[in-house]
Symmetry: none
Subunit: 401 residues, 2 copies
């Protein structure tokens, strides 16, 4: 499909906005009740639905609950089953650490171990970010592993990223986190020949780190997980010919956007800030990915009322978007996060496409899970959204004579 799009695409001056309300889809709390989105008062989103077309998107495949990586890859038009992005890479990209073909990126956790080496706190008492930064600086100053270039960066609280750059650094290495306290940390073991050097490098890194941190408290050691090489993936510009900008507050989503070649612009902190940035950057790009986190985090917290509230807050910003006169607006989520389940779920995601020049409207006039069942987009895979967006933007030529 992406090859076809490369053949058919053409340039014009249209603007496409992909607004991702993370974890948008929900569930009713009570049998017969409404979902979060159905409960929320959303006159502006309802108006986009009334003028546009809606449906339900399946992020990966029926029944599959996606993480943020596969969920967003689908929205960017990639088949999430064919492109695997390791967690280490996501985390690194998210904090602006460049990752390339010779790298293996790893998520680190500062932790507390006792004199025998047993883990007593897997998160080192959730040390504040400043302590994390100080410890990372100490490690940076002292650690030196022969034959590789080592980069260490703080993320937040007890979390850090380690990147090794060098030859023959495969990423099939097991996590060293034993996943419960009272256990020894695990050795970084290679799962294949090509990852043996990575395991040796990681073991040496951990040996030095233990020595360097031994007198610190509570964070006197660290664990590694999510070893990951940079995935082979094309950029939005290569595939779609779109100069693309990401306006996302949280590191993970900035990282995902960088992975597919988007420019990450400074997002501010609130959705109002993001809309302001969108306005400022409007002339410079063809495609804008706006990421709104709070529909997911309130769902994860199991806070139905708060999720309703953040949906209404998002809705209130929609007029600012319309003022810019975009050609195509997509509002969707990367997956559902029902507050009843307090987690990502497999349920399909309410999705709307608004494109005044080309949309064939359906009969739906409200944005919600049940209204979207009746929508003109039907039920479809999230990876179909980008081709539809390009089509609505007049950016795809006819296929065949």
């Amino acid at each position: 499909m992406q090859d076809l799009i490369r053949q058919l695409r053409e340039q014009n001056k249209t603007k496409i906005v992909l607004l991702v309300a993370d974890g948008l889809g929900g569930l009713p709390i009570e049998p017969g009740g409404l979902t979060e989105l159905e409960t929320a008062r959303t006159p502006n989103l309802d108006n986009l639905v009334a003028e546009g077309i809606c449906g339900l998107s399946t992020p990966v495949a029926p029944g599959i609950t996606p993480g943020s990586g596969p969920g967003h890859l689908g929205l960017f038009g990639f088949d999430p089953l064919k492109h695997d992005i390791g967690r280490g890479v996501l985390e690194a990209l998210g904090i602006g650490v460049e990752v390339g073909p010779k790298d293996v990126a790893i998520r680190g956790n500062f932790c507390t171990i006792d004199a025998q080496g047993h883990v007593t706190d897997r998160r080192a008492g959730r040390i504040p970010t400043e302590v994390c930064e100080k410890l990372v600086a100490k490690l940076k100053a002292q650690i030196k592993v022969e034959g590789v270039e080592t980069l260490i960066e703080p993320v937040r609280e007890y979390r850090l990223v380690v990147r090794f750059r060098g030859e023959n650094l495969g990423d099939n290495v097991c996590d060293t986190d034993p996943l419960s306290t009272g256990m020894l940390t695990l050795e970084p073991k290679a799962g294949d020949e090509g990852s043996k050097r990575t395991a040796l490098v990681a073991a040496e890194f951990l040996r030095q780190a233990k020595e360097i941190l031994k007198d610190e408290t509570p964070a006197n050691y660290l664990m590694m997980r999510g070893f990951a090489n940079f995935p082979k993936i094309a950029t939005m510009e290569e595939i779609y010919g779109l100069r693309s900008a990401a306006i996302a507050v949280y590191p993970m989503y900035r990282g995902l956007a960088r992975l597919v070649g988007m420019t990450v612009v400074e997002p501010g902190k609130t959705i109002a800030d993001q809309m302001e940035v969108l306005k400022q950057e409007w002339e410079k790009y063809d495609f804008f990915f706006l990421h709104y986190k709070y529909t997911d985090s309130t769902g994860e917290d199991g806070n139905f009322a708060k999720k309703v509230e953040v949906i209404e807050a998002l809705d209130a910003e929609i007029p600012k978007l319309k003022v810019l006169k975009p050609d195509v607006v997509i509002v969707t989520g990367d997956h559902s996060t029902p507050s009843r389940m307090k987690s990502h779920s497999f349920h399909p995601v309410p999705t709307l496409i608004w494109a005044p020049a080309t949309v064939r409207p359906d009969l739906v006039t409200a944005f919600g899970e049940r209204p979207c069942i009746q929508g003109g987009l039907g039920q479809f895979l999230a990876k179909d959204i980008m081709p539809l967006a390009l089509a609505h933007a007049g950016r795809l030529q006819k296929f065949g004579a």
Copy 2:
């Protein structure tokens, strides 16, 4: 997809029931009329739909009318276009004849031939099963084909199964049934190099059988059809981690269940018996396949009123199912069998999923072909039912970070 499920699956104590009303979907007799399912009074199924989610499943692909084999493979989560199960294997499994990788299984028909060898009755006057058993015993006692192990078993009336076990027994051999009376039976001809030995073995078997049966009446010969090797297929336990039981009255469906590794438990004779068996076996399995034949056989008979009646009889048993407190109930069919057509058809199949903990209900409150068009499952491939069932049972972990 099945590889993904193997990676993501996790165990818990949930129970899943797949209730297959064979040939469930139908058609109105008169323009503007109702289908069999829409006509039937089904308060209990309607209640499952009202509390659950529904849609229309396509067994194989749009426009394709499936046999029982492909229809059920789809329901068990296999792509019927990628897994071909020969009719001989199905028949053998259905009567409890083990079939393995060195075997070729064949359906046999006792028939009547005249002195010149022309077929005068393709079913030997539908001899009673006891006569079939007697003739099979006679063949068993005398037939000996060099180099293969031969097994012969009666099925019912004029039907039997022959299984050859040995090396290099391909299954590309044509049927010997000429399909009309007054013709000579055909030679078992091989369609490829790897099946030549099977053709030779079958020809020798038929030569001896003709001699042994020559003085019998009316069944003085037999014909072979549906030559089939055992397909390479994984079990429900291997893919889904589900201990699975089949509660099916008819041999074919027990055979299909055995093929994917289900335990076939004794089903009794009626749907009420099947429900009783379900109750007795409830603790021992995670997944139950209940097969209800009469929606198909009444459809095949072209008996609209009787099909309505057997749907109502099935509906009346649903409360016994709910009493067991299953986590997920799926009600569907392996294909449509409209009584107007007196045959299987390609029409999609009304399907409901009831799963109180996780289902996102739609607005549909009645089980029927037209109501299901509006359902939250939309239109989907039957092979998606198993991933959805596992997801609703909380048996699939998140995919990706």
